[in-house]
Amino acid sequence: MQKSVKGVSSKLVSIFITILLVFLFSASIARGEVILSEQQVGIQQEKQEEISARGDYTRINLETGEAEHYTVATRLSDSQERSIGGMVCAPASSPTAQGRFVFGNDTRFPVPSSLLTESPYESIGIVSSLFLHYDEEDNLVSFTRNGTGFLFAKNAVMTNAHAVYDSENQVYATTVTFYPAYQEDIIGIPITPVYTAEHVNVSSYYPLTL
């Protein structure tokens, strides 16, 4: 009887060890999803080297075209940052209640218009940039590029550098407008206020940097 109990116990132990090994193996495969391929690592390192000097920025006055260069260090002053659970953050501000609407996974779908007046949707909008440049035959060419941006301070919007700088023709946009929480009426007329940017700030190393 004792022998058979021992036999059952050793079987249970071996089953447990097998399950543990399978679990550990699966976990290592799961971790493999976030391991970069050799090629990706190479690209990533190359990109990091390119952007190692990213503390330098160029500030363009869109009205006069004047450019000034600065570094982040020269602009820093006392600030009210705080740390929450290992995260360093500057909090949001909203004239309305905080939105806490979360949709399903990995599927894009329209944000209901009723939420566009709530945080953070009210702070996210269209960035529309007008570019002018002369082509090879000296003709003035214009085009518009639209992207997205979001307010992160009372008078500042974050967007991509390529939204305001055309690296192909090496020109900054001449006019950049921002439509927070853009909406149209039923005949397609914008009902959203539009704001025209006074300055754009781009990393001095763009497009080498992101």
Partner: protein, 132 residues
């Protein structure tokens, strides 16, 4: 970054922003992104959605992050560039942006590898703080 003469954030609010000190904290971090996808000129648009004038939302996890760049598989096409990648912060922090939608990373044969987002790293964070 754009600067305005008006304090439009007073009327429209503004998002929080932040970063985790360790890039390991971004692995599998669930984030939300909202932007204005534009399907018409994107031949590889996965779902062909977006007219460039309607805000869409998607969500998913960041795969991993380097100092400046986050790699993710959230669906994105033209027009979403500049969209925030955000999470709801603790307490009354509101929505906290951790990154900015950027584009796609491809290998030398132009095969897509991952979508990229700019990470709000300490340097960029400090610059953004100067606008507060």
């Amino acid at each position: 970054m754009l600067e305005f003469e008006e304090n439009l954030g007073t009327h429209h609010g503004y998002m929080g922003f932040g970063y985790y000190s360790s890039t390991l904290s971004y692995i599998n971090l669930f984030v939300i992104s909202d932007g204005y996808p534009w399907a018409y000129d994107a031949v590889d648009a996965p779902q062909g959605i977006g007219d460039g004038f309607t805000m869409y939302e998607c969500s998913g996890s960041i795969g991993h992050s380097s100092t400046y760049v986050m790699f993710h598989e959230l669906p994105m096409t033209s027009g979403q560039s500049g969209s925030p990648l955000w999470r709801q912060g603790a307490g009354s922090s509101g929505a906290i942006a951790f990154g900015v939608m950027q584009g796609e990373m491809t290998d030398s044969n132009d095969n897509p590898l991952d979508n990229l987002a700019l990470r709000i790293d300490p340097s960029l964070y400090n610059l953004m703080l100067t606008f507060r």
